[in-house]
């Protein structure tokens, strides 16, 4: 079978000598899914834009891109417009900015139809509605008349897919199609993509940084680093028999939702800037297997088997010695904590939430602003954290976890319920004791760029809390703190923008630790980082906790990270806690249908398991927190509710479930009338090479 798309030695250079893509070659055949994996800045998105001819004019492109044997590079616009959207379509990452805000979704879909098919306006609009129906948008006739901002993220991405398949393309290029989405919505979208592929029989190029997504979708995988492919092969080969240290490191650094505990293996350093690449292998500065020859010249991509290519001079050695990532990468050792040997009941409570409530007025309209309702952001949640413990608060966007965290950090009297920090009730604090209490309660933010004032040198940033609380010896302490988080003293004089994402997050952690707090609130501390960097930060957090005896409230949406870091976990849904308990209990025997769906939606970086796994795919989107369903809030999407009898359902509709301790467990509770423990993550005894 001849390939649909052949890319040969593609290079893209931007003004200023920025070599974004440096020689990429691949082929995609009909019905085949090629996954392109890489961290940010690896050139994976630029490659696909070059294929579509959508790069800005100042980009210099060379090489060859052939569609059904026809060269696309250098084709004039008249011909190119007949290919774009017809033979090749593209699905973009952020569907909000990818739709024109001033036209309805239906009109934009109809436009796509009419560009390539000679049909009337009415007919095109009808086709648009059919397409929306095909990708699973409810009430497509009504929704077609809505504007992009009126769609939820998941719905927009569905519409984007509908637009991409409007003209039966031969090839679909998906650029991070699910990155902006929640995990249950991601599962839905991947499902739609698979349907779309079935309908059109198209080849797919799937670009992502998420090795879990690729494992379940791709037939072949191309790993990119610093603008070049470093390894290519069938998905099983790449995952089970990686031959390039970068790929090995990437796979070893992902926290796994099915994984056993233990430190992750980070890749040291950060990817090189495309402006000044090292002379030899671009990965050499970070590679644990580096030898002098690596720095001499860049290793070419050589064929080492059937459709298998590697760019590493030591790949033969890796193959012969059958090295695994743990052989190649040093496994960090994290000192154990003393406090964890003390039973939970004997430890002091450092944070306690009792029936916390936070409602917001819902305002609408930019010109005519007015209140249209109440958002039940947090609607009565309770949990506690003891000394030396990590509690993770997990849930999808809009579940109220960020609001909970802000309520705690503000240390103001809550609307209802109680917040008790280190035995002090937030409602009974005066100004001075509130300020004093702030020393013991600190926060690390999600976005390491936004969390640091860009106009302050790092030293001042870390010193700010010290000065605010009138401490002496500030500069000595700043140095100490920077070293504590793995930075150097001379970094104090630089500005945040001179640091990589992982380093910035370390600065944020240093600032949070400056006042030697007892409780640290972590707001998605690693979700903005690339996987290879993420592992290092996770390890640092774990180490600090053990060394300093900290307690963490860890807010996250990534359940795999949570499994690694947390002792206990609370799952939130629409402002309520759905399930709470120790990590082992909740992950291995989830009892709430929402937790079960959430866990089953997480893609595993393991192709074999992904193929055999059964997913629980939830229907629809999260209901509005302004108008939560009566009774159990989850019932509108609950797969279990769908299976219940009419009589049993009545209880779900009428009575709101509260968290009840499960009979046979010590620390495990679920807010479901029909809670039932099941296993959704396949046990993974065979993590190592098969």
């Amino acid at each position: 079978m001849s390939p649909i798309l052949e890319v040969n030695d593609l290079t893209v250079t931007f003004p200023g000598g920025i070599q974004a893509v440096r020689g990429v070659s691949y082929q995609v055949s009909r019905g085949e899914v090629l996954g392109i994996v890489g961290e940010s800045g690896s050139g994976k998105s630029v490659t696909s834009l070059a294929v579509m001819g959508l790069l800005p004019k100042n980009a210099v492109i060379s090489g060859s891109v052939r569609l059904h044997g026809r060269e696309l590079l250098g084709m004039d616009e008249d011909e190119l417009v007949r290919v774009r959207g017809k033979a090749i379509s593209m699905i973009f990452q952020d569907p909000l900015s990818a739709f024109t805000p001033v036209y309805t979704i239906g009109d934009q879909l109809a436009e796509a139809v009419r560009i390539h098919q000679k049909v009337g306006k009415d007919k095109a609009f009808k086709r648009a509605i059919e397409l929306l129906d095909l990708v699973g948008i409810p009430h497509p006739t009504v929704r077609a008349k809505a504007f992009p901002h009126e769609f939820s993220g998941g719905m927009r991405q569905r519409a984007m897919i509908a637009m991409a398949i409007a003209n039966d393309p031969d090839l679909l290029i998906c650029d991070e199609p699910t990155t902006a989405l929640d995990v249950t919505i991601q599962a839905q979208i991947l499902d739609v993509l698979k349907t779309a592929q079935r309908e059109t029989g198209a080849g797919i190029v799937m670009i992502t940084h998420d090795l879990g997504v690729i494992a379940g979708m791709a037939d072949r995988v191309l790993v990119m680093y610093a603008g070049r492919p470093v390894e290519e092969g069938r998905v099983d080969d790449i995952y089970y028999r990686p031959r390039m240290p970068y790929t090995m490191g990437l796979l070893a650094s992902i926290p796994r939702v099915d994984g056993a505990e233990g430190p992750l293996v980070p890749i040291e350093g950060a990817p090189p800037s495309p402006k000044n690449l090292p002379p030899g292998c671009p990965f050499a500065p970070r590679c644990p297997m580096r030898i002098d020859a690596c720095e001499q010249e860049e290793p070419p991509l050589v064929t080492i088997g059937d459709g298998r290519h590697v760019a590493c001079i030591r790949s033969r050695e890796i193959e012969h010695k059958n090295l695994s990532s743990t052989d190649v990468y040093p496994v960090p050792v994290i000192p154990p904590s003393d406090i964890q040997r003390v039973p939970r009941e004997q430890r002091a409570k450092v944070l306690e939430l009792d029936n916390l409530v936070r409602h917001y007025p819902l305002m609408k309209g930019a010109v005519f602003k007015r209140r249209v309702g109440t958002v039940h952001a947090v609607d009565g949640i309770s949990f506690d954290i003891v000394e030396g413990e990590t509690l993770a608060l997990v849930g999808e966007s809009g579940c109220g976890k960020t609001t909970t965290l802000q309520q705690i950090m503000q240390l103001e009297p809550p609307q209802d319920g109680r917040i008790v920090v280190l035995g002090k009730d937030s409602a009974k604090l005066d100004k001075a004791s509130r300020k004093a209490l702030r020393r013991d309660l600190q926060i690390v933010f999600q976005d390491p760029m936004a969390a640091l004032d860009p106009r302050m040198p790092v030293g001042d940033i870390v010193a700010e809390p010290l000065r605010a609380h009138g401490q002496k010896n500030v500069s000595a302490k700043v140095v100490e703190l920077l070293e504590l988080v793995g930075l150097a003293a001379e970094h104090a004089e630089r500005y945040p923008q001179h640091f990589s994402g992982g380093q910035r997050q370390r600065i944020g952690i240093a600032r949070a630790l400056a006042l030697e707090p007892k409780v640290l609130v972590l707001d998605e501390p690693v979700s903005a980082l690339d996987v290879s960097i993420q592992a290092g930060v996770i390890n640092l957090l774990e180490e600090l906790k053990n060394r300093l005896g900290l307690s963490y409230l860890f807010v996250a949406h990534d359940l795999a990270v949570v499994r690694h870091l947390a002792d206990r976990v609370a799952v939130m849904y629409l402002g309520r806690i759905a399930e709470i308990g120790t990590v082992e209990n909740v992950y291995d025997r989830p009892a709430h249908p929402y937790t079960q769906a959430l866990l089953s939606a997480i893609p595993l970086p393991d192709p074999e398991m992904e193929r055999t796994r059964k997913r629980i795919i939830l229907e629809g989107d999260l209901p509005s927190p302004a108008d939560p369903p009566s009774g159990c809030r989850f019932r509108t999407r609950c797969p279990k509710f769908a299976r219940l009898s009419e009589h049993e359902r009545r209880r779900c509709v009428e009575e709101e479930p509260v968290v009840i301790k499960l009979a046979n467990a010590v620390d495990h509770g679920a807010a479901c009338h029909y809670a039932e423990e099941i296993e959704v993550i396949p046990a993974s005894d065979d993590l190592e090479e098969k």
């Binding site: 950090m409 926060i443 933010f445 969390a451 640091l452 609380h469 630089r494």
Partner: protein, 279 residues
């Protein structure tokens, strides 16, 4: 670090470079130029009324025999000073009011923004026109204050809306959670992060004030005789422009050159400070 980058970008920016060179020359002309002229601006040459430019009077003379060169440069000095001071006051006012309104929200915001709205609908032209001739004996600085008072409102609205988003930035939240007082957060974290907007705005306010002064003086509502500014000179010149063009051309030319060079700098600054915006 950042300032170095900005400076490098500014030097590389052609607009800003030409603008700064032109402005430097104009300021030099205004302040050093008079030493080279043969007449003081207060001198009256009774031998030459309305004489065209000549070797003696480089830019000609006025109806009462004043040397146009001397008097235009004198007017320029005044215009430059007025422009700078007005811009400084207006931008400071805009920054403080906007930042406080945006940061605190609630009733502080409502009161301040209501004041802004009121100042916007107040007949500024009328107020300045009525008040400034009465300031004859007072210092011209009052005129500057008047100009500034009606020049900051739009910017403060922009500052306010930017503060609204800055307030939610995580580093501002972090400062709040550290227990740092609100006003300190405003001056330490909010205002410095608006500095590019404010610098650009201040620059453009200079040219706005120069034009504003000239416009008011055009009707006799601005700088009062015997003092002169570019505006009073242009007003004088415009009346006799057809017969004695040098009366009009020199002050107008200087005004246009001044405003153009400042605008070029402002635009170049925007490019250098704010690479995201394409202005």
């Amino acid at each position: 670090m950042r300032s170095k980058v900005v400076l490098a970008r500014l030097v590389r920016n052609r607009q800003a470079r030409y603008g700064s060179i032109a402005l430097l020359l104009l300021v030099l002309l205004a302040y050093v130029g008079p030493f080279f002229g043969q007449y003081e601006w207060t001198d009256k040459d009774f031998m030459a009324f309305l004489s065209p430019p000549s070797a003696d009077h480089w830019w000609g003379t006025t109806t009462i025999g004043q040397d146009m060169y001397a008097i235009t440069l004198r007017g320029m000095q005044k215009s430059i000073i007025i422009g700078l001071l007005t811009a400084l006051i207006a931008t400071t006012l805009a920054a403080i009011v906007g930042a406080f309104a945006g940061y605190f929200g609630g009733w502080v915001d409502r009161v301040l923004m209501w004041g802004v709205d009121l100042l916007l609908v107040l007949p500024s032209f009328l107020i300045i026109a009525i008040v400034s001739p009465r300031l004859k004996n007072a210092s011209w600085l009052w005129f500057v204050v008047l100009l500034a008072v009606f020049a900051w409102m739009i910017t403060s609205r922009v500052v306010r809306s930017m503060t609204l988003s800055l307030r939610e930035r995580e580093y501002v939240q972090a400062a709040r959670y550290m227990g740092i007082p609100q006003w300190k957060i405003i001056f330490r974290h909010v205002v410095p992060n608006l500095s590019s907007l404010l610098i650009i705005d201040a620059t453009l306010n200079v040219s706005g004030a120069v034009i504003g002064e000239a416009a008011l003086s055009f009707f006799g509502f601005g700088i009062q005789p015997p003092d002169v500014s570019l505006g009073t000179l242009i007003a004088e010149g415009a009346r006799n422009a057809t017969g004695y063009p040098w009366l009009f051309v020199f002050p107008s030319g200087m005004l246009v050159a001044l405003v153009l060079s400042i605008n070029l700098i402002g635009d170049g600054l925007r490019d250098a400070l704010d690479p995201g915006s394409n202005t």
